[in-house]
Symmetry: C2
Subunit: 301 residues, 2 copies
């Protein structure tokens, strides 16, 4: 099997370890990043470098982007010296950022016009998932393009699902973040209520895990809440961004998202109160603060 | 082992099969119910009957109550011809209804004053759990009382957790219902958003089950939503009642429950729109209706 040359744009908390895993798997990498430090680091590990997104695209058979938000992705693809300016027909473009499905679909249409394949493939699993090549990857795109991308995804992740056409990955990611964020919020309310009503929240968590209230969040994030371990993980500030993407997607397609909206507001409050850099399990601190109590001080029973 | 004589008050959808399981396990039962049909039915199966809650208590060593709501329980215990009027000191009182923790604690204090043991032991698992003796039971009460009740619980359920002192079972049940109801609501929003954005909601459910969005609700109720199977199960109308208990408990103990509140409003809407008798998974129909779409019509990809 011939490994294509991969251009990798965006070497942040997620992008850098993902690029490193591709290097380790034997891919030739051409990297580009807004700030220089990560580029130098990966260059020492064997990656080539390029001065612009345009140059990355011109020299690569596959381009992967891993960027913070929709405007960043739009700029990197459609801007002057962007990917589209350098991309030859036939190139495979993979955006692994978590962005608006609407933007994602617009870019995929633009790519198709230029004779390029484009796939949206946002991930979940956080920094640890990126480092350990254990990311969940949610893919939107036409089957032939997804098939081309699959060997690359298998280097980066474990739970890899092709959900549908262009944008379907982003829609799935938005749905995922809605469910994860809201489950964190309601577990917060439930445990704080228990504590303030004089019941040991650890025992409530244990009891709830045995029935229909069971969730991965109650298990993992519920435990973090009890330990007051809010080291990220996944930052509230970034989850807030994802909730806004979900709300904008709901507005675009005409779906009122009342619960999502409520939880997004709670995340905004956390950011305003200076807690945006906490792990999203830290949302419990908002409910604690509004109740003037702390889970850890309530080994009531 | 000497099996105590059990008085059983409240032979509804849940109470009747629970009483039947106790009969089958060899307990002597004295039953009482507001409407006559269930009493006659269980009488044919070997139960004795009594004309009032007072008489049930006077003739029993253990009294179990399984009633719809807090006022019903207050009336059955504290009313004229109620349990307290007939209970001898030393009797064990077990309230398995889902009611306000505040009411539950008041009754437990009253029981203690009269030299009776009282335990709150609400359940989850619905009618099927009651029939199959597979209920989850959340218990509040002092250890010696809970120990007395344990052989009875083992006949009725499977996941049996002693959470704390009097009222702790009700607090745990409230926490459980908050988490279950809200998870149903957010899974509804997520699947409807996916469908209306042109992505197959069945595939989104499948993708989300592999990551942090996983929950028993996404698994079981998510599937019901896709099949539009809203046969109860657990009725929205009753879940709405439980959400109100949670909100009242939050108000009593000073915990603002913003997400719980939002979901309770959605359940109220469903009841007002004539859908209160649907299974709580039917909450998805509200989001569908507000979006003018249907999950089942969107095998988009």
């Amino acid at each position: 099997m011939n490994k294509p040359i991969i251009g990798f744009i965006g070497l942040g908390i997620m992008g850098k370890p993902m690029a490193r895993n591709l290097l380790k798997a034997g891919y030739s990498l051409i990297v580009h990043n807004r700030s220089r430090a990560s580029v130098d680091e990966l260059s020492k590990e064997g990656a080539q470098t390029a001065a612009s997104s345009q140059e990355v695209a011109a020299r690569s058979e596959v381009v992967i982007t891993m960027l913070p938000d929709s405007p960043d992705v739009e700029l990197v693809y459609s801007g002057e010296q962007g990917v589209f300016a350098g991309a030859k027909p036939g190139i495979l473009l993979i955006d692994m950022s978590s962005i608006s499905p609407v933007v994602s679909r617009r870019l995929a249409a633009e790519a198709e016009k230029r004779g390029c394949d484009m796939v949206d493939a946002p991930v979940s699993g956080g920094e640890a998932g990126a480092i350990n090549a254990a990311l969940s990857i949610m893919i939107g795109g036409k089957p032939s393009a997804v098939e081309r991308a699959m060997p690359i995804f298998q280097v980066l992740g474990k739970n890899i699902v092709h959900v549908g056409d262009a944008g379907a990955g982003q829609v799935t990611k938005a749905a995922n973040q809605m469910v994860v964020g809201t489950t964190i919020a309601i577990v917060s309310e439930a445990l704080v209520l228990a504590a303030k009503a004089g019941v040991d929240p650890a025992k409530v968590r244990q009891a709830l895990l045995g029935g229909f209230a069971q969730s991965k969040i109650l298990e993992a994030h519920g435990q973090k809440m009890l330990e007051r371990n809010f080291k990220p993980g996944f930052r509230i500030r970034l989850h807030e961004k994802d909730m806004k993407i979900a709300l904008a997607t709901g507005a675009e397609y005409g779906v009122p998202l009342m619960v999502t909206s409520q939880v997004a507001q709670m995340m905004t409050a956390m950011r305003s109160m200076g807690n945006g850099e906490l792990d999203h399990a830290g949302l419990v601190a908002l409910v604690e603060q509004l109740s003037k109590t702390e889970l850890s001080k309530s080994k009531a029973t």
